[in-house]
Subunit: 335 residues, 2 copies
DNA sequence: TTGAAAGCGGTACCAG
DNA sequence: CTGGTACCGCTTTCAA
């Protein structure tokens, strides 16, 4: 574990010169440069990133924090963040964090000064207080999918209310009257916005049926819910279900089918996110009709904005993206 | 952006005392401790992780490198690494890296000294030379899913050959004779092991039909391959296909069905990995029969081993896990 | 073109 | 229980 001093000694030059070589700076005589390079090879030297960051106060890396890296929801975000950042010479470290879960390690603390700023994707990855501390100390902070109302943080959100509203209306246009909303168990701004939209449409059209269920979407609970609800839904003549997200919708559909309900013949199901994957299921499932959020564009906006901020632009924004309803095979007209 | 010196001044103590308070060390008088804590709050101080790492030469974090974070293949690995590491007070930074792709940023360089060691998941995340440099300079290095034969690196692999061999035999037992192998386009040790197993079984049973296709599994190519191959396969009376991985198998099945081939009635399809998700498809797909690799146990082994290495155990291992054939709905007996 | 030296922000040993 | 100080490894003036 040689350091710059060892290299200097080995090459018979000063540390400054070594530093210049490492950083490809001019003003180093050719032979010395070679000598240094040889020494580096010989001693197996790699610059200590910690020391460098300490001196430079700049890391050229973005800290990306999500709730659960394994969740397919983040796939597109991460993919795009990676490639765009890379094209600017920026890297990204990703980490898992769910601030509602008790954890041994504090990622924010650990990330501190190892990154030039943060992109938080999804509520519960960071608390309002933490956000305030970061923003106040001048860090670049971007939140995707939520807005905690903290000054100096750029927020990138979607039209949760409008999108859900439109989807429910669409179902009504298709003749559905008894429509259920399946929400995520976790209380978030997103979940309540979407649910209000559902409720508001129900009221606007004066439907006399409505029902909301809440369920943890990280586990198999949606499947179980589907099996439990099947009989009830038949009894209540439900013909459509709209879900908080695709995972939920998929699990639910699977459970429903297990109980002999066919989708979309008996019941139409709509998801949210358009994550482009679905779990291996016990049954053959129809391709999911869903509300698609423009993750790629959101990710691009985030990274470009990040870089701009690094380059000293002090503006921050509140950007809201529009979702689009994508009709596939899990929905149909109600007769 | 206050530093420890500012806090010391503000609280009227020395930097040493501040450091003690930050690190919850004993031997600080109660009132001073309070004073320091207040100063920290007031000045919005967070310790500089870079400086701390530089002084400590220890980071309590693991660098996890994968090819594509969005790929469902890594979901279970990451999930488990996260939770187990956390229980030991360790964190993990994840990053995307495909060493065959030209990239602006060198993650290895950037990770240097920001982590206590590395877990590489999947070939192509690191070159043999890089591995040698890391291992030689005493870093903790673990590779999952491949073994580049570098000294002092712990490798965690699966029985690619045996597992594939068994799966093909299973198909033969079920009466299949004309079996195709669809390999990944990328040349890796894994892909060639699996393919050899297929070929060896074909030879052992003296089947007079065999066919291998290679295809990029990161795109939709598998779907297209399915549509292109459909007629051919019918003509050649193929009744079973075994694929390099689940993504490939799913896309292929989807393409096949589009062309009117039904799975498993006409053709049985087997995947590999058991990643528990599948892409949204154009058709209703049967649950996939696949070869399941014990990702959870592999991840656990990796983290536990990592921690042991940190605690100065110098052993390294070559651990090979067994996969199991999981029969679901995409395969059936051939009549 | 090169080297000396002063930080960067912490930690930890040693004295008191 | 507390403070002084050397040091971690690299970058960057400033002088030579």
């Amino acid at each position: 574990m040689a350091n710059i001093f060892d290299i200097a000694r080995e090459a018979g030059v000063s540390r400054s010169t070594v530093s210049r070589v490492i950083n490809n700076q001019p003003n180093v005589k050719y032979e010395k440069r070679i000598k240094v390079k040889e020494a580096i090879k010989r001693l197996n030297f790699t610059p200590n990133a910690a020391a460098r960051m300490l001196a430079l106060k700049k890391t050229y890396t973005i800290g990306v924090v999500v709730k659960e890296l394994g969740d397919v929801f983040y796939a597109s975000f991460i993919h795009n963040i990676h490639y765009i950042a890379d094209s600017y010479g920026y890297g990204a470290f990703y980490c898992n964090r769910n601030s509602t879960i008790q954890s041994e390690v504090n990622y924010l603390e650990r990330l501190n000064k190892q990154v030039d700023g943060y992109i938080f994707i999804g509520e519960k990855t960071v608390s309002k207080e933490e956000l305030e501390v970061l923003a106040r100390s001048g860090e670049i902070v971007i939140t995707i999918g939520f807005d905690l109302g903290v000054e100096n943080v750029t927020t990138i959100t979607i039209d949760n209310y409008e999108a859900t509203y439109g989807a429910v209306e669409k179902l009504i246009e298709q003749g559905h009257r008894n429509i259920v909303y399946i929400n995520a168990e976790e209380e978030t701004v997103e979940s309540s916005l979407r649910q209000s939209a559902y409720e508001d449409v129900i009221n606007k059209y004066e439907l006399n049926y409505s029902r909301v269920e809440r369920i943890d979407y990280l586990s198999d609970s949606a499947y179980n819910l589907g099996t439990e609800l099947a009989d009830d839904l038949k009894k209540e003549k439900v013909t459509a279900i709209i879900c908080f997200n695709d995972t939920l919708a998929t699990g639910l559909t699977d459970g429903l089918i297990t109980k002999g309900v066919s989708v979309p013949e008996d019941i139409s199901v709509v998801g949210f996110d358009d994550v482009a994957v679905r779990r291996i299921t016990s049954n053959n499932l129809p391709a999911l009709t869903t509300i698609s959020q423009p993750q790629q564009r959101m990710a691009e906006f985030a990274v470009r904005h990040f870089i701009k901020r690094v380059d000293d632009d002090q503006h921050h924004y509140h950007e809201k993206f529009k979702c689009v309803y994508v009709e596939r095979e899990s929905t149909k007209k109600s007769l």
